[in-house]
Amino acid sequence: MTRGALNQSRTDAVGAPSATVGLVGACAAQVRRELAVARRRGGEWLNPLIFLALVTMLFPLGISPQPDLLATIAPGLLWVAALLAMLLSLDALFRSDHADGSLEQMMLAPQPLAALCLAKVAVHWLLTGVPLALFAPLLGVMLSLPTAGSLTLIASLLLGSATLSLIGAIGAALTVGLPRGGVLLSLLILPLYIPVLIFGAGAVQAAVQGGFAGPALALLGAMLALALVGAPFAIAGALRISIHG
């Protein structure tokens, strides 16, 4: 915020002079708002977890209950299921804000839209990615995933799901104005999810086989860093395109 802008808003004659809120305050307010909305909607944050549990429960029934076989496919299976759970939760990210006009208010705010979007995505990750990462090892036990892989599974999902939230939000922003954006959203962002899936599942695989998960985790971290820098601006740009054409 520049000095000049600050002075101007302080000297508005119409209405009392008021203290100003900076970028950090606005982002904090955005986070508080998202958390309040989530609390109000109750158990919605459980849906991805239920989806993950259902998918991992069905696989042993459909393929074979042999522990050896399950242990081999467990890293990839858990990662694919977690990725799809993230994908399903994304469609609603901007939908209600678009419908009730909140998105328009965000765009007309003097704060950068990218920062507000980043706050929104951070809460999405906190309520979707983090629970998935913490819950996955439990399902790993069901798939006889060796316990050696549990920590790597948590770490890789924490890093990876944050990237998935950021990338997915670009797709959600692009499809927010469409009546049936869900399918298009999946088509748009699945290709971008593939590298995250490969290195995420690869890290767990390596840890299970007694190898070294470090390089794959480092790459996941690099992807997250890249997404953190670029995605907020892409989300803001996508929102402007899809709302104003």
Binding site: D12, A13, V14, H244
Partner: protein, 209 residues
């Protein structure tokens, strides 16, 4: 001067049809401008252009003599916009909605000030009720509480009288006139006829063809 918004030779086309052409607007301190026109004549589109959300197909838009695009930040710090959808989240109560609105607009609003603003629009006692459980008019009133909470010279309002009851209409009309009298400016789309109608300038869209 706080408000100096000029539109020169503005034109907007939709589906191979000109919504308006060669539109000239000038808004200064103390002005009240009503944009009139039949349904579908482009009133909301014009407001979106005036707030910088859409770009016009032709014409210039200036804020204090500078192109609006270039001074967007200072412009947005002078603007209070309430759109067709009022920007009130159904899942949140009035307190939470306004706390967010104020913070995003860059204004610090202690909860006492928010309660006052809500009382000012006749929602005292409804501070903690989720907007989903309020009527359409009451939700609209939450949005209108921003007028008191976020001090801005230029108000751009899309159909502010929608869903507001008779007493509310009188109150809002007075509120708008007061704002203009104190040196603010109001641009709105409405079919409402003001009591002090000579105070209001009108632009009619769609008549000239």
């Amino acid at each position: 001067m706080r408000v100096a918004l000029d539109a020169r030779d503005l034109a907007c086309e939709r589906d191979d049809r000109w919504l308006f052409e060669a539109l000239e607007l000038q808004v200064r301190d103390g002005d009240m401008l009503r944009i009139e026109g039949a349904n579908g004549s482009g009133k909301t589109t014009l407001l979106k252009i005036l707030t910088g959300q859409l770009s016009p197909q032709a014409g210039k838009l200036e804020w204090h003599g500078e192109p609006l695009r270039r001074v967007k930040d200072t412009f947005l710090r002078s603007l209070l916009f309430i759109g067709h959808a009022p920007g009130v989240a159904a899942a949140l109560n009035g307190q939470q909605n306004l706390a967010w609105s104020a913070a995003v607009a860059g204004v610090e609003a202690p909860s006492r000030a928010i309660d006052q603003a809500l009382a000012g629009v006749g929602l005292a006692g409804f501070e903690d009720v989720p907007a989903a459980q309020l009527s359409a008019g009451q939700q609209r009133r939450i949005a209108l509480a921003r007028l008191a909470l976020i001090p801005r010279p230029l108000w751009i309002l899309d159909e502010p009288f929608t869903a507001i009851d008779k007493d509310g209409v009188g109150w809002l009309e007075q509120r708008l006139v007061d704002h203009a009298d104190r040196g603010g400016a109001v641009i709105m789309t409405t079919h409402h006829t003001f009591q002090a109608n000579d105070r209001v300038n009108s632009v009619l869209l769609g008549a000239a063809g």
